[in-house]
């Protein structure tokens, strides 16, 4: 009788363990899917941004020097090696080169949008110039929107990557090989212009110097 109980208990433990492992594997799988789809979106948004930048450069809204620099950065971003859809096979160096080109484009966009259009150098938040101005040049607006969308896509992609890395760092996941043969994903590390005037509603920088007053303020913001 006792042997039977022991057997039952062992089976129960095994079942619980199996369930736990399979649910972990499901989570890893779901996160991999998120990483892949968000990377595809990021690629699409970056392509759109580069096209919008090229369009802006040729629209006549900019001075010729800025336009040329922007066109150069945009074409470089478009020509940078694209990671193939099966991103796990991609050579790491490809991404590095790509991100460098995208950072340069962010820089060029920053310079172009800083002085173009309505002249206030602000993105969707017009830095306090009254009601939303519909009169801004279409090309400028499109480049700003595309720039913002690329920022969103990068954030969401990196969020997925960070969470995937976290889960895959767990010992159970590593030892149980729950991630299969999938490559470890990497964050898209480039300057997307966040915190620049044309995308000014976000900043990654430290809190502005509020002295001792800043401490309790941010500390209390639970």
């Amino acid at each position: 009788m006792t042997a039977l109980w022991w057997l039952l208990a062992a089976l129960l433990v095994l079942a619980a363990l199996g369930w736990h492992l399979s649910s972990l594997a499901r989570r890893v799988d779901r996160l991999h899917h998120r990483v892949e789809t968000s990377r595809a979106v990021l690629d699409a948004e970056l392509t759109r941004r580069a096209s919008a930048a090229l369009e802006l450069a040729t629209s006549g809204a900019l001075d010729p020097a800025t336009a040329l620099l922007l066109a150069d950065a945009a074409t470089a971003a478009l020509d940078a090696p694209r990671t193939p859809a099966a991103l796990r096979e991609a050579a790491h160096a490809d991404d590095v080169q790509r991100w460098r080109a995208e950072s340069v484009l962010s820089d060029a966009l920053d310079r172009a949008l800083g002085g173009a259009g309505d002249g206030d150098g602000a993105g969707w938040d017009a830095g306090g110039v009254g009601p939303p101005a519909p009169g801004a040049a279409e090309a400028v607006a499109r480049a700003r929107r595309a720039g913002r969308r690329a920022q969103l896509a990068r954030r969401f992609h990196n969020d997925a990557v960070v969470q995937t890395l976290r889960l895959r760092g767990k010992r159970v996941v590593r030892w149980g090989r729950l991630a299969g043969h999938a490559r470890l994903p990497e964050t898209a590390d480039f300057d997307d212009g966040t915190g620049r005037p044309w995308a000014a509603e976000e900043t990654g920088g430290p809190a502005p110097g509020g002295g001792a007053a800043g401490g309790p303020g941010t500390g209390g913001g639970s």
Binding site: E201, G210, G217, S222
Partner: protein, 377 residues
Amino acid sequence: MRIGLVCPYAFDVPGGVQFHVRDLAEHLLGLGHHVRVLAPGEDGDPHLPPFADAGGRVVAVPYNGSVARLSFGPVTAARVRRWVAEGAFDVLHVHEPVAPSTSLLALWAAQGPLVATFHTANLRSRALQAAFPLLRPGLEKVSARIAVSEDARRTLVEHVGGDAVVVPNGVFVDAFATAPARPAWSGTERAPVVAFVGRLDEPRKGLPLLCQVVPRVRAVVPGARFLVAGRGDAAAARALLDDPSAVEFLGAVPDADKRALLASADVYLAPHTGGESFGIVLVEAMAAGAAVVASDLGAFRRVLTGPDGGGEPVGELFTVGDADAAAAAVLRLLADAPRRRALAAAGRRAAWRYDWSRVAAEVLAVYETVRAAGGAR
């Protein structure tokens, strides 16, 4: 686009998250989208807006330091699952995803593209930290996280990991900018009006500090009037005052009255001592044209100095909890009408940054990004 919004708190008691969900839904409906809201409540609840569905029986539970009106349990869980399935939404947008109510249940039931907005980001509570392993699988489904402020985002990054984009809360700036002042609440040279809107019984909203500021201001400007609008026990609040007649308690006022109050006041005082992740009331006061004096909290500072925190503040900031500094700031503004007017004008311009037209466009950009990704499996 078919959009489903989930609010964790019942609409029968007003609150920031409920207002945000309601206003966002109204704005998106106005843009021609299909929008449904799910919130705690019984069928036929008169407090639910016409575009909202009842999520289940409301239970008042002490949660996170105050009493929250939530809905949970197997019946609610089944309802939420059905609502999510029948809604066939292109995007499901869950607000305050870790609140133990409809939001958390929707997170579990969700299949498609999922967006989550963290409002107060009370992610440091010990209960939440303990329960986190249980919440994580649900949170991992979220393809796009939104934080309402840089402060909320930082708490999220530190305590949960991952990242979020910042999309601020929205205000219908026009409604405040065009609100008519009310003669009974308008200040004069001799009797300027200082306004405060906030719950009386939550100390972190700063009413006790306001009560210390009152005598200090009236010592210099004896005629100064303090108008306080907000729910709570006015009698208990009066007990904090030496001269109970110095402060007029208006109780919980309807939206139109709140706008009129902010439009009438000379100075808006935000004496909060912490726990604010955004500060929507500051934006409302700015939109209505009141000169703002506010605690130097991170969230308030960012509203007043611009998102990158680098601009000239469009209001006066004082050290958190310092009644002398607060009174001095109020007195400075009361004595200097031109500066008051300049600050009010600058504040009104800055408030446009938070107009729903801009905020909703930003939210829609997030929706489109996650929709392109197709969401979690």
